[in-house]
Symmetry: C2
Subunit: 434 residues, 2 copies
């Protein structure tokens, strides 16, 4: 039985978990793939750090590019992270030598996916990245291989565990956003600077990759409309609950008549949807295709879960599995026509703080009607009835619209603001339906 000699760059939590998993499962993996998966060389910054793994017998590199070029490795595993060098240079070095690459690096693929796929195709090297999206959930393989016979219509996912943890705690324990964020930071689920997670950029990176796989388009993270969860209040989450919805930060890619709509924003999801039930740091992806609708739920991060995806990819490499990086040859990937957000169609939740005087609701309803927006419900509440209390002399008006366009909603809100009946910034949450 021949060896599959692995060179692994990045010895953080995931890197160490991959090395441990390969050791623990060596016999089984050899039986499954017909090859011995062996880490023969590693690259990291600090050689002396105790990682709880035995690195003796592995060649040591400080430069990951040098590791990627080591003539005595069969596959390069990139677990350093970062959208640019050194990760990018190292991955390119391996691909240019025709050497398969396994990576967990979503930022790299979101930014450089098309270029990397071109280089991989040019040399025939495989580029595997199951771990880059939704951690331990096999969503890349499902889209790239299992759904080959399908036309995908929509992908929607809870792709960031930090955000889902915060939203779950807010809903379950009736806590404010700031409290839950602090708790997430204390538990290590959120960074000291949480921007990347809670403002939706991490979700957008993953969505960009899923969109390419699902719709056969060129990865284009810049085409994504991104809105995070910072503005969400407990009041909105409770109001959504009363109306039969959960609020989730979703990444959604949708086939429309004007192109592929890609968006990341807080979303009201019907409670009976499988992804509505997904709580805590767990991730989920729902795929609506012409032949099947699937939902996959599982861990989106963590050393073992991510290692599971990396090792699954390594087993594919060992078995000689090949395929196009995004499922299709790069030349056939379409430019992702960016469906403008103004044309987004759907239902809306709109919460307004209004001056508490007669006729306010009528004014609001008329502005909606002027834009052709039909209302499913309009509820005016006096202060004190809800957890998020309105200031003295004001009231809340909560509207649920039937399907309309983003443009109409924005115009109607602008008109209402111009009417002078609104006392603070309106809250708008999009509703996702079947």
């Amino acid at each position: 039985m021949s060896d599959l000699k692995v060179g692994l760059a990045g010895l953080g939590t995931v890197g160490a978990a991959v090395i441990r998993m390969l050791e623990r499962r060596a016999g089984d993996l050899a039986a499954r793939t017909g090859r011995n998966l062996k880490v023969v060389a590693v690259a990291a910054r600090d050689r002396t750090r105790d990682r709880g793994i035995d690195l003796s017998g592995m060649r040591w590199y400080e430069d990951p590019v040098a590791l990627a070029r080591d003539p005595d490795i069969d596959v390069f595993v990139e677990l350093m992270g970062g959208a640019d060098d050194p990760a990018k240079a190292a991955v390119l070095a391996a691909l240019d030598l025709g050497r398969p690459v396994v990576t967990a690096n979503k930022a790299l693929l979101a930014k450089w996916g098309v270029m990397l796929a071109e280089r991989a195709e040019a040399t025939g090297a495989g580029l595997h990245f199951e771990a880059a999206v939704a951690g331990g959930i096999p969503i890349v393989k499902t889209l790239r291989e299992s759904l080959a016979g399908n036309v995908v219509e929509r992908v929607s996912g809870i792709l960031n565990g930090t955000c889902n943890y915060i939203l779950t705690r807010m809903a379950d324990e009736k806590l404010a956003f700031d409290t839950c964020l602090a708790e997430a930071q204390r538990l290590g689920y959120a960074e000291a600077d949480p921007t990347f997670d809670i403002d939706g950029f991490d979700t957008a990176h993953k969505l960009a990759i899923l969109t390419s796989l699902a719709f056969g388009t060129r990865v284009d993270a810049d085409a994504i409309y991104v809105e995070g969860i910072r503005q969400l209040t407990l009041e909105d989450i409770e109001a959504a609950d009363d109306l039969g919805y959960k609020v989730k930060l979703l990444g959604v890619a949708l086939r429309t008549e004007t192109g592929i709509e890609q968006r990341v924003h807080p979303t009201m999801v019907p409670k009976h949807w499988p992804i509505a039930q997904v709580s805590g740091v767990t991730n989920a992806v729902a795929l609506d295709a012409d032949a099947v609708d699937l939902t996959l739920v599982g861990p989106g991060a963590g050393g073992d879960a991510t290692a599971s995806a990396v090792v699954g990819d390594l087993a594919d490499v060992a078995r000689g599995v090949k395929g196009f990086v995004f499922g299709l040859p790069v030349a056939t990937l379409m430019k992702a026509e960016r469906a403008p957000m103004q044309r987004h169609e759907g239902g809306y939740y709109i919460r307004l703080s209004v001056v508490n005087k007669p006729g306010t609701a009528a004014t609001i309803a008329r502005r909606m009607a002027d834009e052709g927006i039909s209302l499913e419900s309009i509820v005016q509440r006096r202060p004190g009835g809800l957890q998020g209390e309105a200031p003295q002399g004001t009231a809340r008006v909560i509207l649920i619209t039937y399907a309309t366009t983003e443009e109409a909603v924005r115009r109607a809100i602008a008109a209402i603001e111009a009417d002078g009946v609104v006392s603070s910034l309106p809250q708008v949450i999009r509703i996702e339906k079947d």
Copy 2:
């Protein structure tokens, strides 16, 4: 670009859907796989039936074995069904020629899986069967490929849409079992003779295959304890609901100290589990492994969903993907040590119809204590309080036990029956927990 010439036996709903999907997606599949997937020959009993597909240009066989041996096909697709000949003979004929086979036939694999895998290995032919378990859900690929680095601890699935449809309607609309079964038959979800579905045999076939993939054991459907849903009453479903559970027909395979426990029975599942929320004919599989816990939800049957899985397998064949039939070489598959059901450990729901006289609850509680069974709750209700009314002069006692053994429960119930306090057959439902 070369053709992948497909010979397809069985032109029912699924067969026709596969042919339509291959035509509809021809260009995309060719781009993905580098080959033209073309059905060149078919076998079915009746040539004249209108299936809404164009069979001209395809060779016609009445004998599927002859089709499987057609020298001018590259892959044989078996969609006839049935555990024995002609499906078995046709699949063997193809495998013996080293020709890859794609099948949706769970009964065949549950009965002959090991033998077929041996023959496939002997000639190097691939045997693909994503469609055989849970229809459009990519559970075979997930277990066989994605989770290669994991040790699986438990597989639990809603694998029969008919049963889940009946249980969902009972729970949602407070209807009796017979009413829901008749409705399922009217809608075509259940056969005129529903035994195969509602008595759990269909679930057992699928579980046998999942067990082999998950635990590296030899497929052994005879090792499965099987109990169907016929005995379930609305009263039980409502009582479960009150206690925070849904009742599902689950197939469960579990690693225990005494071997792999395989069982199919009505199960009380905590409401917050993703599979508890799965309603109607939808299927779901939950995998608990050492590195990841995954739940996959999707369509378990239907022409398009099953075709999706078949076409996914054909795309793998076209890309030259190979692997062992059950993930591992047959020689390394272990004999599934049958963990006897008496040793099953878990919580139990026990509903007793008892003689309505003082001391009955005490008698029951004592018998439980005698067997070392701790009770989480014991509730005695007089007739009329619940939908399923107890006969005059009797009452209901509903017990929930903490984890105990099947043996202890059976002995305790036998002792209670011997005490003469029970007026009809006890109902026992096992509880599944984290």
